[in-house]
Symmetry: C2
Subunit: 308 residues, 2 copies
DNA sequence: CCTTGCGGTGGAAGCGCTTCCATGGGTGGG
DNA sequence: CCCACCCATGGAAGCGCTTCCACCGCAAGG
């Protein structure tokens, strides 16, 4: 029985002949290991937790969170482990601590945590925690390369003759916002055009207001780049309501390439956010107990549709 | 130790005083039960599987699946169990059988399975399986009340003076499609208008084509009801491109109330699909080992926006 | 030819729970 | 006032695995 255990485990020391015989016997007997027993014996977790900052069940409606959860669940399924979804105030060390101490949790994926929140992760647990949508030295992080994504969008706008490009940002505390902002500032500087920045929060409503504000503050704007497709679509709606011709008068581009993007009229130019591959990388790192670099960036590819 | 176990378990027979003392000691010692050990001892699963029909990772992009997964994960988290997501050919008994036999799986939520697929669920496993988006006598099912939802939409259209109402359906094998279809036929019959049916598949592309087809086959159509917001938005797009005034010439209504619905121009009239509460009901049934009626329907509420 | 060392093997303990079972102290009926 | 009965309690077995440890047989070195 000890031998069988070793033969079945990739790390166990068993001779090849034994390994083969065990495998044959296992398939003949229809044997499947019991993950619960294994988890009990090895004191490892049997599920991986996706943790989102915030209090309410509202996270369920966030397509970003849903995609992360679904992708994690899919990776986990192949490893015979589960996934659980939590929302909690990320600044509250007690909550997060309780989760990291739960022997049942083999890994934690933090969605868009703040740097201070990350600091509350107990040192002992850091090997079991990865973050998505952030770059941090505390735990390995995974995100879309929004600097390059932003640069690509802006270059595309410049190539198509736009010069006075306004940007609707995301929450300022989000590293991805900051990275995109830097890219925007660099691009506008290189093009010799002054930056036109309006803070946003990824929502359509905010995008709508932001576009209106842009129209009044800088009436000669000829392009709007919104971090997040929802904001872009909100802005598009505002412009159309104001009788602005898109893309004739003003071009619009978003970020993320949500399914929404193809549904607008005209369809939205955007750049992809490969959430699934980002999540898969994070989950794999956790599940295989690999050590990952502080920040892994996944490429974003420009999708030119009809708003530019 | 036996007493502590009983005191902590809701079903165990322990006196109230003991229960209280155990609870006090537990919180003082910072005791948390080990789900793996419990699963091992009780021979119950440590996760609940969400199973979607189909072969590819495409399911990850389906907002419906993502919402089901996220909601399941959230219920499961409160019970200290996990979730895993699987896509497999639902007609293949072997795959599903393997999943039901895995002692690690405490419950299975089947998303939109066909009746023949359900029949492949091993009899021994039926108590651990629930279905979403279907009505079946084989396992307990949960769905939105799309008959009433459809009726409400159609009544709204009739009240606003529409008479020649076309409908873009969903896949014919889906029970929810059939229920909605019945409601549509009943409503049009009552209103004395002949039915105008175009098959759909919930996608925007198909909705687009369907609307074009409607325009050519029944040019005097004054309303389109699409099963699924995506199809409705596709139809909206087609009408706008054809220069049709919405809602002036033709009204459009969808089903599901996806976040997309507010982003269109004009915003889409639709009726809600409470996927989260449906999923919660299914997951709770599984986790609490309750016996649920063959079909539980959750109400859909009409959301009137600007396309009607 | 005997000893040392090493890799493969089986025995056995134990991971942290639940539950069967036997025991004991209480209550109600005779 | 005693006996039967019931309910709460603790002992102990076991859920299915992993891993420590002792063991054995082999190849290499003295």
């Amino acid at each position: 029985m000890a031998t069988a255990s070793r033969a079945l485990s990739p790390r166990g020391s068993a001779s090849d002949s034994t390994r083969l015989r065990v495998a044959a016997a296992a398939s003949e007997l229809g044997y499947t290991p019991n993950p619960a027993a294994r988890a009990l014996a090895t004191r490892t977790g049997t599920r991986i937790a996706v943790v989102v900052g915030g209090h309410t069940a509202h996270v369920l409606n966030d397509p970003y969170v849903a995609r992360v959860t679904a992708a994690t669940a899919s990776v986990a399924a192949s490893r015979e482990v589960g996934v659980s979804l939590h929302w909690l105030p990320l600044h509250d060390p007690a909550e997060l601590g309780r989760l990291t101490e739960s022997r049942d949790v083999g890994g934690i994926i933090l969605v868009n945590p703040t740097e201070p929140a990350l600091a509350t992760v107990p040192r002992s647990a850091r090997g079991r925690v990865a973050a998505i949508g952030i770059g941090s030295r505390i735990v390995p992080s995974f995100d879309v390369d929004n600097a390059t994504g932003t640069t690509n969008v802006l270059e595309h706008l410049l190539v198509t003759g736009r010069r006075r490009i306004a940007m609707i940002t995301g929450p300022a505390w989000l590293p991805c916002t900051r990275r995109a902002l830097t890219a925007y500032q660099r691009a506008t500087e290189a093009a010799g055009t002054p930056p036109r920045l309006i803070p946003g929060d990824f929502t359509a409503t905010r995008g709508h207001h932001a576009a209106t504000e842009i129209l009044t503050r800088w009436p000669d704007t000829d392009a709007i780049f919104a971090l997040g497709d929802l904001s872009a679509l909100g802005a598009l709606d505002a412009l159309r309501t104001s009788g602005v011709n898109v893309p004739g008068d003003i071009a619009i581009a978003g970020f993320d390439d949500l399914p929404y993007a193809t549904l607008s009229h005209p369809p939205l130019t955007t750049t992809t956010n490969p959430i699934e591959s980002i999540t898969t990388a994070a989950a794999t790192t956790l599940l295989d107990r690999q050590t990952a670099p502080p920040l892994t960036l996944h490429p974003s590819t420009l999708i030119v549709r009809a708003t530019t």
